[in-house]
């Protein structure tokens, strides 16, 4: 445990591998690096880089950052219906009557909603599960917003579900689990095709990716 403020013991500053981050800076600078290092996907080097960026930044910029951090904790919440990040009880997408109410795209995280929205390919609604089924990490189906999804389907308005969980083992298994129940409800279930990254070389594709790409191949002649 690095020496720090009292009460820090609950959050050992240890990366996922157990590397201890050396406390090499003085007092508050090190405190900042430690706090940044606890953010997801921020390694020791990135934490140091961000800390020094903040140190050298315009005080007004830093104040704005600090304010928005506090504000997001105060105001941001999750949409009552879909679980997306929202400022109101319903998020902008759920509250928009122009969205197609018959189609729901199921994603793991709120950031995936943003990713799908950016494509502008989808006009329906979303449902955020809050993760994927990963028993080794202690996450089972009952830890996700699956029952909430089922209750959204009960009135028969929704006729199509797109399961856009991550294309990895946990995401695929979650899709398998969901489709087991959904297929008995007379709902069209689809999963976005997995395949070759655009701009990549075929020869570097691994067997699973290439296999999926063949499975989801499409006709090129009309």
């Amino acid at each position: 445990m690095p020496p720090g403020r009292p009460g820090r013991a609950a959050y050992p500053v240890v990366s996922e591998v157990g590397h201890r981050l050396a406390r090499v800076y003085e007092g508050v600078v090190q405190d900042l690096i430690d706090e940044l290092g606890r953010l997801p996907n921020v390694g020791p080097k990135s934490a140091q880089r961000i800390a020094f960026h903040i140190l050298q930044a315009d005080p007004a910029d830093v104040t704005r950052l600090a304010e928005v951090l506090l504000e997001v904790k105060d105001k941001a919440r999750f949409c009552d219906r879909c679980g997306n990040v929202s400022q109101d009880s319903l998020c902008r997408i759920c509250a928009d009557p122009r969205r197609d109410q018959t189609s729901i795209c199921v994603v793991e995280e709120a950031k995936d909603v943003v990713a799908v929205e950016r494509t502008r390919e989808f006009r329906g609604l979303y449902h955020v599960l809050g993760g994927a089924i990963s028993p080794m990490d202690g996450v089972g189906p009952e830890d996700l917003r699956i029952a909430e999804l089922m209750s959204r389907l009960s009135d028969g308005t929704v006729t199509e579900i797109i399961i856009a969980t991550d294309p990895n083992i946990q995401g695929e298994a979650t899709a398998t689990y969901l489709s087991r129940f959904l297929k008995h409800m007379g709902i069209v279930i689809t999963r976005p095709a997995s395949g070759l990254p655009v701009g990549g070389d075929l020869e570097y594709a691994d067997e699973v990716t290439l296999g999926r790409a063949f499975e989801g191949r499409r006709a090129v002649n009309d």
Partner: protein
């Protein structure tokens, strides 16, 4: 086809001081590391458990692709580091994960297998038998010849046996008196005779004992022909046996989808998700929503850079 080269490591070959090795391995689990890397926990054929870093593997264009996903059987080349080894090349030997995650029961069984293997093996201590057992069990799950639940129990019994705690299902585990015996005691190591029987021993059905013995020895004719109730009782005993020998419980065990008919559980939360701390109506949300640091959705959202969200057209 199939080989891939990772991001350039040290100049191996030109610098003989960097120890490089090659081994066959099963990917047990992965953890995110930094911005685009992952720590890959492997059960290798010759070096036991190995933790290695796959640099850039989370990028869409990583040449490692799906080769370092759980349940993959690979031929891997790494160089040794001070704390962690680093992957330099991977070739696929067998793809089991893709078939396993399309069968939810098989997926939950496979996660218990890899977690158990991780718990029973030691880093850099050869565990060839455990490695071969795991590869065989994963292959069996994809083949669909046997109930995944039976494959799991066979794996667990044999894995425990390799670790040196082979249970007895016939002779007395304490004095060796020839069986069959009625009583079964986990702490004593299996079936026990009337003389050795500790108080509180169970009395499972003789068919259950026969099933477990067949799973341990690999007699699949008996195992496949067993009744559902004996399978259920057997699974309970195997789980108890496993938990007895591993200090901390196996986390994924409670999620095993034993009969494949489990409906989605009712929501645990009685309130809709709200940001932690957004107290309203006097409800103690801290009791409902985990604090920051354990709420994946909010954590990840706060950690991500805010992309440009446009109004839908």
């Amino acid at each position: 086809m199939g080989a891939c080269h990772g991001e350039p490591g040290p100049l191996v070959g030109e610098n003989a001081s960097v120890p490089l090795y090659r081994d066959e391995a099963v990917v047990l689990r992965t953890h995110k590391l930094g911005e685009a890397d992952r720590i890959i926990t492997l059960l290798t054929r010759n070096r036991g458990l190995v933790r290695t870093v796959a640099k850039g593997v989370r990028r869409t264009r990583s040449r490692f692709g799906a080769r370092l996903e759980p349940f993959m059987v690979i031929d891997i080349q790494c160089y040794e580091g001070r704390n962690l080894d680093t992957v330099t090349q991977v070739e696929t030997l067998a793809v089991y994960g893709d078939a396993i995650c399309r069968d939810y029961t098989a997926y939950t069984a496979a996660t218990v297998m890899v977690e158990t293997a991780e718990r029973l093996c030691e880093e850099h201590e050869p565990a060839t038998q455990q490695h071969l057992l795991l590869v065989g069990a994963l292959r069996s799950l994809t083949g669909g010849e046997h109930d995944p639940s039976l494959v799991l129990d066979a794996f667990l019994l044999r894995s425990i046996a390799i670790a040196g705690w082979a249970p007895s299902f016939y002779d007395c585990a304490k004095c060796g008196a020839p069986g069959p015996h009625r009583a079964f005691n986990i702490a004593a190591g299996g079936t026990v005779c009337t003389v050795c029987r500790p108080p509180g021993s169970a009395a499972p059905a003789p068919e259950t004992m026969r099933l477990l013995a067949s799973l341990l020895s690999g007699d699949w004719v008996i195992a496949d022909g067993s009744e559902a109730r004996d399978r259920r009782e057997g699974s309970g005993l195997v789980s108890a046996f496993l938990q007895w020998h591993l200090e901390r419980g196996v986390r994924s065990l409670r999620h095993v989808d034993r009969d494949g008919t489990r409906p989605p559980a009712p929501p645990r939360r009685t309130l809709p998700l709200k940001a932690a701390g957004a107290h309203e109506d006097g409800v103690d949300l801290a009791a409902v929503v985990p604090p920051l640091g354990s709420h994946p959705a909010l954590d990840r959202h706060l950690g991500a850079t805010q992309p440009d969200v446009r109004e839908p057209v």
